[in-house]
Assembly symmetry: C2
Homo-oligomer: 204 residues x 2
């Protein structure tokens, strides 16, 4: 048990630095001062490690969303808080999002799982948005399906902000999450009512 955790931890570290494609079983083993034969006894390949780490990420994100649900009242503040924590979690497992397409291509089971997950998230977001519209924080939609498009773009941003940052971001590393989360909040501005605008000022 202990060993498996150590492997996952070190792998995450190396994947985040070099990308999951550029790390080999031998490298990980070396860093852990163990033989690669031994490492392969626990995880046959790096793909197996990637899969295990992906599952950890998903579990952590699920826990976040569950906790969000317990707070029965959906507010702008709670949504912003939850998204912030999600961003931080994604940053922790950033190699997954930086190698998103590659990983999905390599490991079909992850792709299938992720597609399922996206469907779920869309439903959850739809509920959140409808609540915020009802409470007069988000505007009534101007055209049909407007918010379903916005939800998709929200998920889209969540999936790829790290990739964009990898290429374009030039600030301090420790400000990265905050910067992009702030960016994320800005995207909601045109959808807000007067009241929503007043409320969001505190977070900009």
């Amino acid at each position: 048990m202990e060993t498996k955790e150590r492997i996952l931890q070190k792998s995450l570290e190396l994947f985040n630095i070099y990308g999951s494609d550029n790390v080999t079983v031998r490298q990980i083993a070396k860093e852990l001062n163990m033989s690669h034969g031994n490492l392969c006894y626990h995880y046959a390949s790096t793909d197996d490690i990637v899969q295990a780490l992906y599952m950890l990420l998903v579990a952590d994100l699920d826990a976040l969303i569950l906790r969000g649900k317990k707070a029965t009242d959906i507010s702008l503040e709670s949504v912003i808080l939850m998204s912030k924590m999600s961003f931080e979690k994604l940053y922790e497992y950033r190699f997954i999002l930086l190698d998103f397409v590659h990983i999905m291509r390599r490991i079909p089971s992850i792709k299938a799982h992720y597609r399922q997950l996206t469907v779920m998230r869309q439903l959850q977001f739809q509920f959140i948005v409808s609540e915020l519209v009802r409470k007069g924080i988000f505007k009534q939609p101007i055209i049909e399906n407007q918010y379903s498009h916005w939800i998709q773009s929200t998920i889209f941003f969540g999936d790829f902000w790290l990739s964009s940052a990898e290429i374009l971001y030039q600030g301090k590393e420790q400000d990265k999450v905050k910067t992009y989360h702030n960016f994320f909040i800005h995207l909601t501005v045109p959808y807000l009512t007067e009241q929503g605008l007043r409320e969001i000022q505190a977070f900009l």
Copy 2:
């Protein structure tokens, strides 16, 4: 000359199918019925081919933008048309965007070039947006820097819609570009004035 073009063409084909990381010099050579020794005579490595293809993409996109500038009047229609053509061009070279982070990490010269390009694009977009605001198609900004955020998210979408589609899109392949471009147009809706909304109806 002829041979180099054939290599680029076939490489683009293979890269788009398998991803630039999963294609070797030997594979490309085999598909072209030539020895890999010969291929390496023209392009020492796949990275050189990637770089050449990237330059072709950039040149094509530049040509698009230049043509757009000749039509002195910036309208919603001309902007939508230009973005549509850009989307189609990106689809043509889709491997670059599907392997975006990887390529940028592997080939620093491309990363540097792309960063430069993004700065340019931001300026161009800023001009376009200010024109559309002036013409009463886009709303006056509600809060400071609102449009600079929107411009960033536009570029962001341009860079990663193909990656998102690779994972989530389930429709017909030949409708992909149209679907995502339509998605792109939807993102502008909350920024449009009454007039802008009337004009955009034709494109939805």
